[in-house]
């Protein structure tokens, strides 16, 4: 982080090597275009540099912090672009890896995410997808599906707890 804070070329490249693709992927899946995803990626790393001094490893992982920045920026843009159709969500189990993708760079975080998703039912995966990846609120989902708001909220919490517990033994408390 010291290198990032100083704007050190090698430090930025190291951070990009680890998180560039996940950040870009989130941008592409949420915003629906390569151009928007690349713009988001640049914004995320610029924000990370600006806020590097404020990152506190005691409060959470670097990956969580960085992806939270990415998610916040992406959801902001999604909401700002009201009226633009949201892109179809593509979860990892629906699409094969990009041909030629280097398996060696598959991140530990992705393994954990896969394990977590596998612990969910199809309905729970869809619910998580509509909120986290498409920016829908519980109320919007309740209205769309014709079910009580409280039920959606309860199911969301249950799904998140499952996600968390799927990797509980690997995560420091």
């Amino acid at each position: 982080m010291e290198g990032l804070l100083a704007g050190d070329d090698a430090a930025i490249r190291a951070l990009y090597a680890r998180f560039g693709r996940p950040v870009y992927t989130m941008g592409l899946r949420l915003l629906g275009s390569r151009e928007a995803a690349e713009e988001l990626t640049q914004d995320v790393f610029l924000t990370a540099w600006r806020k590097a001094a404020r990152f506190d490893p005691q409060r959470g992982r670097l990956s969580t912090w960085l992806m939270t920045i990415a998610h916040n920026l992406a959801v902001d843009r999604l909401r700002r672009d009201t009226g633009v159709s949201r892109p179809r969500l593509v979860l990892v189990d629906e699409v094969p890896d990009v041909p030629g993708a280097d398996e060696e760079v598959v991140l530990m975080e992705r393994d954990e995410a896969l394990r977590a998703l596998a612990s969910l039912s199809d309905a729970e995966r869809r619910l998580i997808a509509r909120t986290y990846f498409r920016g829908m609120t519980a109320r919007e989902i309740a209205e769309a599906d014709g079910i009580p708001l409280g039920t959606v909220k309860t199911r969301l919490r249950s799904a998140l707890i499952k996600v968390r517990r799927a990797n509980e033994e690997k995560e420091p408390s």
Partner: protein, 262 residues
């Protein structure tokens, strides 16, 4: 908002699709350890989800563009305010703080005008009270990150002279930092005035804004969202068009915006 209300909203909060109660939730999490534990668990779960997407391959030159974006920014001594969502998010806080500062500026200025020893002696206590008021108001704005900190300072003439003022910096771990300065009782001579934030003896200088005109009370409010970490900027200076220092002040220690435990 009580624990039940917060717990009900925490899943959406963690997933970044809250229903507009973010500030109330953060306020509650500031003092409720049990809800904070629950929030941390849900946040960690949500943070993990980002890696579940089918990986996509960015352009080969994106890495170079990212590096160039950051190194360019790092090498610049001054950057313009950022655009778009970050400004929009930050602006909510800025607006709330500006409204608050307008109120406290009057009180602080009146205290300085009186010049009474007792009031000067109570300045530190007054600043704490003002900061507490800021905390409350800032928390009423949406999108406040729990790691947000604020620092407050009062501005005085370096020697005998008219005017005084107040300054507030808001430092966030995830959105752009902000600074607000209010002056009052100034003479409209040698405008525009330049408001700067300065860091250390030989440190950097950040131009906050130009004051081009004053109201009937010799006052003005300037505010800016900056693409720079304001943690190290401890001094605020207002200069006239000839470079003469009209007001100067030192920022107090940064304090968390979250409320203390009951």
């Amino acid at each position: 908002m009580n624990c039940a209300g917060v717990r009900e909203r925490l899943p959406e909060h963690a997933l970044g699709v809250g229903d507009g109660h973010a500030s109330e939730i953060e306020l509650h999490l500031g003092w409720c350890a049990a809800c904070r534990r629950e929030a941390r668990e849900l946040d960690r779960a949500a943070g993990m989800l980002a890696f579940a997407l089918a990986p996509a391959e960015p352009s080969a030159d994106l890495e170079d563009r990212v590096v160039a974006t950051v190194t360019d920014a790092a090498s610049a001594t001054h950057r313009p305010a950022t655009i778009g969502a970050r400004v929009r998010r930050a602006g909510v806080i800025l607006l709330a703080a500006a409204v608050a500062l307008a109120g406290l500026g009057t009180g602080a200025v009146l205290a300085h005008r009186s010049g009474r020893a007792a009031q000067i002696a109570s300045q530190a206590r007054q600043q704490n009270e003002e900061l507490a008021r800021f905390r409350t108001l800032i928390q009423n704005a949406a999108y406040v990150d729990p790691g947000t900190e604020a620092a407050l300072g009062t501005l005085d003439p370096p020697s005998k002279g008219p005017g005084s003022g107040s300054a507030l910096t808001i430092v966030s771990p995830t959105v752009d930092d902000q600074v607000i300065v209010i002056v009052t009782g100034m003479r409209a001579k040698r405008l525009p005035f330049t408001v700067t934030l300065e860091a250390g003896r030989a440190g950097r200088t950040l131009i906050v804004a130009k004051i081009r005109r004053l109201d009937s009370g010799g006052g003005a409010t300037v505010a800016r969202v900056v693409g720079e970490d304001l943690s190290g900027f401890g001094r605020v200076v207002v200069r006239d068009a000839a470079g003469k220092i009209l007001l100067i002040g030192t920022m107090g220690a940064q304090a968390p915006v979250s409320s203390p435990a009951p």
